[in-house]
Subunit: 259 residues, 3 copies
């Protein structure tokens, strides 16, 4: 069902299958994420069926990661404690073979953040998720197909470039997911929560391209369903959580625009 060679044609079915596994197995996802995103990220993970934990204390983050199924490292809050916790968490994820996702938020806005993100990107994240400005700052290249493939090859992982159309590359191919809604840009932490969902899918799906594309497709389709029910960004943030919780194969099939 989820053999990567059949993506993108059956990405809706692959996504439905991966969501089912998240709902059935309730993977633990440890998130080192920014203070603004923590609450919404935890609720998105819970709605999907995953179990979030969020500690950033260096004394104990290693134990949490050791008992988790996947890790998210988001640089949105760039304090000393989170930097130390990130180092420890990534080392532990490496030891236990757990996949981890790097989300270098706002790496284009401050030089210390760029430098730190570059050291993390070199430590083999399973997936790097970022927008075009962040891609340019982190990889010193315009985010075209060639650069996406090169970066995915260099990091030996998947690169997910999010925007009006999401693009996902494993170094060989570039998938495009043209779903979503502009209201997703009017609610804070949408991208951060989407990256956490990538980690949840990686916890149950070894094919990293499939897991990443599934998470982005699921969240973008949930956004479309939510937009159809919302009056503005306040109700949209509520509705997208409900839509993700109730997302089914039929809705994914009807809405997926993947090439």
């Amino acid at each position: 069902m989820h053999a990567p060679q059949t993506i993108p044609a059956d990405l809706a079915d692959v996504t439905a299958a991966i969501l089912s596994r998240v709902r059935a197995s309730n993977p633990r996802v440890h998130c080192i994420t920014n203070a603004v995103a923590q609450h919404f990220t935890a609720n998105v993970l819970l709605a999907a069926g995953a179990i979030p934990s969020m500690t950033v204390a260096p004394e104990e983050v290693g134990e949490f990661v050791a008992r988790a199924d996947a890790l998210l490292v988001n640089l949105g809050t760039f304090d000393r404690e989170r930097r130390a916790a990130s180092e420890i968490a990534i080392a532990r994820a490496g030891q236990t073979g757990r996949p981890w996702v790097l989300d270098p938020v706002f790496v284009d806005r401050s030089a210390p953040r760029t430098a730190f993100a570059k050291t993390l990107a070199a430590r083999r994240p399973a997936v790097v998720r970022l927008n075009a400005a962040e891609f340019s700052a982190l990889f010193d290249a315009a985010p075209d197909d060639g650069a996406l493939c090169k970066v995915a090859g260099d990091t030996a992982g998947v690169v997910a470039l999010t925007g009006a159309t999401d693009q996902v590359s494993d170094g060989t191919r570039v998938l495009r997911i043209a779903n979503g809604d502009p209201l997703m840009g009017r609610v804070t932490a949408m991208g951060c929560a989407g990256a956490a969902l990538v980690a949840a899918c990686l916890a149950v799906e070894p094919d990293r391209l499939a897991a990443t594309a599934a998470a982005l497709l699921a969240f973008a389709v949930a956004g479309e369903v939510a937009a159809g029910r919302a009056r503005g960004p306040g109700s949209f943030a509520v509705e997208i959580v409900d839509a993700l919780y109730g997302l089914d194969r039929e809705t994914l099939r009807a809405r997926a625009r993947v090439t």
Copy 2:
């Protein structure tokens, strides 16, 4: 109305009376709680009629606690500042005779957290709220009726074991509250907010068993009302705040399942 000897038979009425006092007197509840739970916890307290404060700065937490009517210490974010703040806050609550609630979140997931929680549990919290895994880690015992009563006796306080059925013991008796909805487990910080509500009730009700059972019953019944109106965990988190705000004696009487 709220004499403990008549609980559980009249817990719905006792709860309605305690909620009325919270709404009328607007007790101040100082919360040292985790970063994920702060926002939702503040909104649950405000919906109930209490006034939250949330500073964790060691320089000023003592002054906040001195002017508060009850204190919550939640270990969900286990950083140095919050540990220092907890020590100061608990000492001040002891000096001023203010009740405090210990919520040892995830104490089963990391050894430093367990060790710290044990020192706090020995400092006479009015109430310890935790789930079964946290109970086992903190008290080295399976959470049966005998262990609940023993722990309540040892800490000279009330133990609230939350789960599908909540259990509350003062060392002599064990009350069971079989209300609530599975969606409460699909929204982050529900337990944390429930523990804050216990603190709000302790601020207006000296009988700690009654105050604790009232808070848990009110929140669980609000959860049932919310589940009847919600499409998923996103809307559920909104509806439970509205339901708590509007909760009345008739709804409590109609729904309470207490033994």
Copy 3:
């Protein structure tokens, strides 16, 4: 349209014009704000059309402020990192000529906070927003019209005293905005988000009295619209974001009660 001498008569029109400019130009607002308020504040700014950033790391806050159009300094979380970040951010805002808003939350509740707020108030914020108790603690005076004008004159800025009726003074005049709804007091971070909205309006409107009054009027009218749709404080917090997003000139004209 927004000449200050015609306020208050045309404040509804002035507000509609300022909101249009925020929506069209998407100003960047850097917020050093408390942990409880960060998420809601970011969503209110996004709903209004502004772009929030929230880092408090001293290493990089200067770079964020240098690239922002306005700054908010909120003292609700009074930790060492935020104090250091505030000093750096205010210095940078001064160098680049960016307006900044001081929100001295809970300055009446702890002496170290009062002392720190006094040093910040002396550094020429464009606007100080606070409630009556905070005014008295910070300026050692009862918040009557004379004191408002004197403080505005002394700080060479605007003072916004929020409450059932908001009062705004530039040292010469005192505007009164009698809009809003009691539910605004039952949701955490409403005042904090309102102060962030003041910063967003300052980013596009050089007349500080007009910008401040516009932000307070817009948020208060959004609160009235939300109250008409809400069942309690949970849905109110959702509806006010939607209402701000959709707020138009007709609604402002129909509801504004400004003297």
